[in-house]
Amino acid sequence: MPQQTEKEYKEILRQYLEDQSEQNLYMGEAFSRKLIERDISPEEVISIHKSALKDVLPGLPSKVWHSFDFLIEMMIRYGLALKEHQSLVKRQEEMQLEMEVASKVQETLLKTKIPAVEGMDIGYVTVPSRTMSGDYIYFVGNDMDEAGVAVADVMGKGIPAALCMSMVKFGMDSVQHSSEGPSGVLSVINRIVEKSVNDSMFVTMMYGRFDAKSSTFSYASAGHEPALHYRASENRFVELDAKGLLLGVSPDARYEEGSVVLERNDFVAIMTDGVTEARTPDGFVEKETILEIISSVKDRSAQEMAEHVFAELDRMQGFQLQDDFSLVILKKE
């Protein structure tokens, strides 16, 4: 193989030295691609060039050949860098594959089912900005007259966030009863997060609970983005917020609870900051604009509403989300 390579190289060089045609340089370029494929290092190319030139132009002063020996010496480290590159490319590809597998694991791990509650239409969208998400949506319900929803956002993105979030998920697994009150739920999750995670990791979370018997939506927040309550009778939005520390800061954190009664055609939107802090090349999207987008589809189903808001904000961001995006709509029928 190396001898074959030398022979081919010499032939292309010989032809080039005859008439210096573009044709020959093109063949040379194609051949250089082959050399890289065949794992020929740059110092070997110089060595091949030297011996080819010796054949084609014999009788040159010996210093010319010494100069090539020097050039070979200069190229060794370039060759090393190239070899290192090949190993890195391989590792990079493995990593990519690994991330894809991980995101599938995450998907299965975090799957959740919208509960069926009389008089309540629920829809949601959650889209990661990179391969793995740091946002989390989880529903609980008795499939009769109670529904609970947790919306959480782990600070940071990517793998560390995904790992930390799996913890919130297992916390939620221990809250399987939709009758549990919002501030109680946050207290449980807070203790789990506080115990398992080091100080540099924080999680914001809102837990909301709808009781069909009283048509009441109650909620508590651990430093999370406020929810929005659309009052159909007044055609305006009211922020729903409640005092509470981020999860994981203190084991004894207490969570205030708020509640509102939902009238017909009212809806509540719970979201992460990836919705409200949508960034376009020209800056943040105005809060007003976001409210207008939501309003414009208030007569559609909850799922259609969530999907429309995502589509609009995704488009405005040039299809490159800066943060994970999660939005839940709970609409009183």
């Binding site: 573009e22 044709q23 340089l25 370029e29 890289i36 494929e37 590159h85 490319v89």
Partner: protein, 133 residues
């Protein structure tokens, strides 16, 4: 203030013609041997892409004089299927992208400015510029 010439790409020999045109123009602008070789390699890559993926198209070479800055532009255009995922095409370091350092990221590195315009089913125009320093 621009002089533009072009080569249609139908066969592999047209790639050589495009390279020759690019090298001559680069020489006229005043580029040295190394930059001539880089510009020519970029043309090779773009022309081969047209030849392999779009079937036909053209390479235009433009000498630039922008307020005393001299340079050269390669405009590669085709009416092929368009690039379905530009993000993917611009990604670095895939051994599957036809070899180390090849592909569009390679062209971008060989030149100073680089821009892709593509539409599904309509075709692709790639503009790459190198300035004389």
């Amino acid at each position: 203030m621009a002089y533009r010439s072009s080569v249609d790409i139908h066969t592999e020999w047209d790639i050589v013609a495009a390279r020759q045109l690019g090298r001559n123009e680069a020489k006229k602008v005043g580029f040295g041997t190394v930059d001539q070789a880089r510009i020519t390699t970029a043309i090779s890559e773009l022309a081969r892409n047209i030849y392999l993926y779009a079937g036909a198209g053209k390479i235009e070479i433009e000498r630039l004089n922008d307020d005393g800055m001299f340079g050269i532009a390669i405009i590669a255009s085709d009416e092929g299927p368009g690039i379905p995922d530009v993000r993917k095409v611009m990604e670095d370091g895939y051994s599957t992208s036809g070899g180390l350092g090849a592909g569009m990221p390679g062209v971008k590195r060989l030149m100073d400015d680089f821009r892709i315009d593509t539409e599904r089913g309509k075709g692709t125009t790639i503009t790459a510029v190198k300035w004389l320093r």
